[in-house]
Symmetry: C2
Subunit: 609 residues, 2 copies
């Protein structure tokens, strides 16, 4: 069996930065060539970033992507990398009959291309378009109907034989029945490579590996899945690239939340010699017909040879297998990645946040310090007459543990100045305090250029237990999709992780242990207003993430009165969520693109218990 | 030719209020019966409101809609209205093979039903699903593939003859080639009724009438288009229902932005006697096959007879033709409707806004007073050391002209209290003033229960010439989609309209005439930061609404340096827009569901001039 050395480049891409993304393709192709790879695969839409949202409707952007693709192919050859076969995602355009009414008029494609010898040898496009959850791909893309299969020499440099046949699909094409996977089997390809931009979600099972195994068996081919890495607004891509053989055996696996080159030696069936058949139509078993389009990759006299074993990284077998993170480490890494990339890609140099002594702001500060280092993390202590002594002490303790920049700005003078005129009480007076804090943070942000981090958790945002323009003020909300009970779990995990590494725990134990309070009124506790968080989060999980109706919630065992109360709180808070800053999605349904409800909405779930 | 009296009920619906919407169907069916109508047609998704967004993914809500439909049919019969044929939109569920992967699992349908004699006689669903602009219908709905044709007796009560054949399509089915319109001709129906929820957009031409005329000719049938009326979050439905005959002649037309019953007598071809054919498959000429499904409406012994001529309303011909509003009146009515319905449907009793003496807040206050009356409109004058004398005078003048509730809260004490600690200058100090105003409005809102109206216009929002949590604070933004030049046009129009009605102009002339200023720094003018608004708005129209790239903008005649500057401002302000409150859409592309761009976005349009 011919042996092919493949490299999966699970790297970052920045939306709109065609120049930078192109440079990354060249840089990582060089690394792959240095490792002796004959084929390098980059993620979905690598050249443009993903998701580009309505940029996919703008002709100038599509044009620029297509030009950047050709320029990248040429630059690779100029730099002596033309002999490496490079598969990369980009934003393409449909050629052929015009889109039908209702299809996107610009005819954009979520495309993949094979670059070799300075040329774009063949292109294709995602066949199955996801249009649920955070995805709106029917808004942007036409479906592809071509399976490209390229015949790649993988013997000695300059030798035409042996060759292997490699097919390409894109992301969602793996998740749906029929289509490119089915047609890969029909085409007899030995390897199916799949660029992905598949966002992280907290998962109990290893869904992705199981999917790759199933599809490899269906395709009758080795399957190489390469996923993007890094944060883009509310999405985080986690890498975790996978290679399995045609029997479903795991051959290599990349790290989570790290850029990496996953290099593996694949033993693949030899492709036949001689001329290629012309384009062949094939039933895709999904109600459509696809065309198998074959091309030959020219023999290159200086194709790279093997330089070192592919398995010099951790793991064993054809390639390295990085260990999987445990469930809390995984979530924590997602949050750190989301913050780091939002800061970096939006060219902020520092962040600022309010530190209350409570667990939410403590965890947020810790994530920020882990993301960009402690030095650019500025915190503001903003005590009021209702702040307890431990609040300030716990906040100061955290500052000292982590070496953050801290200052104290008491809110009383500004609150009093407002109250002299407004003289409000109750919730209005509580919100006023929170808004004065919001103004202080935004003012320091404007004056000093910091990104304001918002410290609210998912349980608060769900129930509306937050003040619009107060604690909800900011540009990015790191724990927005983290329920309160998971906030505690993550804080404990982070401290334990420090202990495992022989470091001091970064989060004061008291911030983890004390009962949560907004401290906006004397002796106030969250439980004055909200149910116990363990009980609340269980209902929220079923209502928000699982989208159960009231009757289902009661049938699932939740207290009927509590169900009514929680549903009313969640539904009423929709207007606040619309104005909340973005934050990294870690659950199957976040507040953002994933859950779209009307503000004006009189639907009250019937309980029928 | 048989004559059928039809009534189009272009009425309001509230999202989620199944009980209230059902009651409206019964109430307006009674009015139609009183006018002698044999057939009443309600808007798309009348029973649930539109758009219901992710409520269409919730099984409990679909179940409730289907139950409410049956209950409505039964109640109509109970109240002696069973003899009227009622066509109404509702949220249905697909019956048949399960949805494919990628289709919405709950299988919701944007459905229409015929109610008669206490029964749901036949149902169908929208065949063409819009998935562009503000619409995401592939996310929610499965496409319908059935054209219902019902044979309706329209002679004397109790007589089986004559009858007419009536087909039903839904909204987008009119906008796309092929599908229900084509199949209506094949079925030989004499009348095609079309429930719609078609949002208002400022249009130069009378697109809708032309479309109805074209489709009536294609269907070879009289066409009755009934559109929803009223506001729902960022959308406003404008009514403007239309009936044209098979030759395209206008027979009746409803008012814009008013609930109304459009009653008309239609001369229609008689349907044949005898048994109906079974279901027939028909090529829909859009790549699909539809089924023509025929049902007979039973003869009702007490069907209503004609009670008065159908044309007692303005206009002439088979039914009334309300006059069309002129272009500015139309926009103004859309804004008033949007505000009124957001307030009412969200159960607010009053609004509050800051009044600066400038044109934006003056127009917003005037719209609010026109929407809900002057008494529930509370304004706050919040002068600073930079406020000019005319600012306060102009604001007070407007208050007096309109009889609003006004109070004055100077911002200096709070600003000074913040500055004592923060000591910021420049933009940070300007934003601080705006944010103190935001806090004052939100505090009064919390204390007194008013909805805060945001006064920013589209030009400001586009360029980011606004302060996050300052002038952008609020729950609803009436002129969010109104470019500054149109703000002035609307203000002038409103004053002229008052003059035409013999009333005093509500807006002080000085607010219209003076050069715009944020008054956050000494002698500040908008033109210190922004181009002249006439020039700016022209670029924004082409960049934001037309989605031109930089090269196209330059080719369209805009100054190249200005193009670069405006694009940079617009792109950079995306993060602010994400946190802006909703406001009524009046242009073909608003900031909201209509334009979805990443915040993290390094794409810089190449000018190439």
């Amino acid at each position: 069996m011919p042996r092919l050395r493949i490299a999966l480049a699970q790297i970052e891409s920045t939306v709109g930065d065609l120049e930078g993304n192109s440079a990354a393709i060249i840089e990582w192709t060089r690394r792959a060539a240095d490792r002796g790879a004959r084929l390098v695969v980059f993620p979905e839409m690598m050249l443009t970033g993903y998701p580009v949202e309505d940029l996919a409707l703008r002709a100038s952007f599509i044009d620029a992507s297509i030009e950047a693709l050709s320029a990248t192919a040429a630059r690779l050859a100029d730099q002596g990398l033309g002999g490496v076969a490079v598969v990369t995602g980009y934003l393409g355009r449909h050629v052929g009959p015009p889109p039908r009414y209702g299809q996107p008029a610009e005819g954009a494609l979520d495309a993949a291309a094979l670059l070799h010898g300075g040329q774009v040898l063949v292109t294709s496009a995602k066949h199955h378009l996801p249009n649920y959850g955070v995805f709106d791909e029917y808004r942007y893309f036409l479906p592809g109907d071509r399976l490209p299969v390229f015949r790649l020499p993988c013997g000695e440099p300059g030798q035409a034989e042996p060759t292997v046949d490699v097919a390409t699909a894109v992301c969602e094409d793996l998740w749906q029945e029929g289509g490119p996977v089915t047609v890969t089997r029909r085409a007899g390809a030995g390897l199916l490579v799949v660029p992905n931009a598949s966002p992280y979600e907290r998962e109990k099972a290893d869904t992705r590996l199981e999917l790759c195994q199933r599809r490899a068996r269906e395709a009758g081919a080795t399957l190489a899945y390469v996923n993007m890495m890094g944060g883009q607004d509310e999405l985080v891509f986690d890498g975790d690239s996978i290679i399995v053989d045609a029997g479903g055996r795991l051959l290599a696996r990349g790290p989570q939340f790290e850029e990496a080159l996953v290099v593996a030696d694949l033993d693949l069936p030899a492709a036949g010699p001689g001329a290629l058949p012309v384009d062949v139509a094939a039933d895709a078993h999904d109600g459509t017909t696809m065309t198998i389009h074959r091309v030959s990759v020219p023999v290159d006299p200086v194709a790279p040879g093997e330089s070192a074993p592919a398995t010099d990284s951790p793991g064993s077998g054809a390639g390295p297998v990085w260990p999987r993170l445990d469930p809390l480490a995984e979530v924590y890494a997602a949050l750190v990645t989301g913050v780091r990339d939002y800061v970096r890609k939006n060219r902020f140099r520092s962040v600022i946040l309010g530190l209350s002594g409570g667990i939410d702001s403590a965890l947020t500060a810790t994530i920020a310090a882990d993301a960009i280092g402690p030095d650019p993390v500025h915190v503001v202590l903003m005590p009021s007459q209702h702040s307890s002594a431990h609040s300030v002490a716990d906040a100061e303790d955290l500052v000292k543990r982590q070496g953050l920049h801290a200052r104290t700005v008491p809110i009383r003078p500004a609150v009093d100045a407002f109250q002299a005129d407004l003289q409000v009480e109750g919730v209005a007076a509580e919100n006023l305090q929170a808004r004065v804090r919001g103004v202080i943070l935004m003012t320091l942000s404007n004056a000093e250029g910091h990104l304001v981090l918002t410290t609210g958790n998912k349980s608060e945002i769900a129930t509306g237990y937050s003040t619009l323009y107060g604690d909800s003020a900011g540009g990015f909300a790191p724990i927005k999709d983290v329920p309160k009970t998971l906030v505690w779990d993550l804080a404990r995990w982070r401290n334990e992780e420090a202990a495992r590494r022989g470091q001091a725990p970064p989060i004061p134990e008291n911030s983890i242990l004390k009962p949560p309070s907004a401290e906006l009124a004397p002796g106030q506790l969250d439980t004055d207003t909200l149910p116990d968080y363990a009980v609340l989060d269980a209902v929220l999980e079923d209502y928000v993430v699982e989208d159960m109706g009231a009757a289902e919630l009661v049938a699932a065992g939740h207290d009927p009165a509590l169900v009514d109360r929680v549903i009313a709180m969640v539904d009423h808070a929709e207007y606040k969520r619309r104005q909340y800053p973005p934050g990294p999605k870690i659950t199957p349904r976040n507040f953002g693109r994933d859950r779209r409800l009307p503000i004006t909405n009189r639907w009250a779930e019937p309980r029928r218990s």
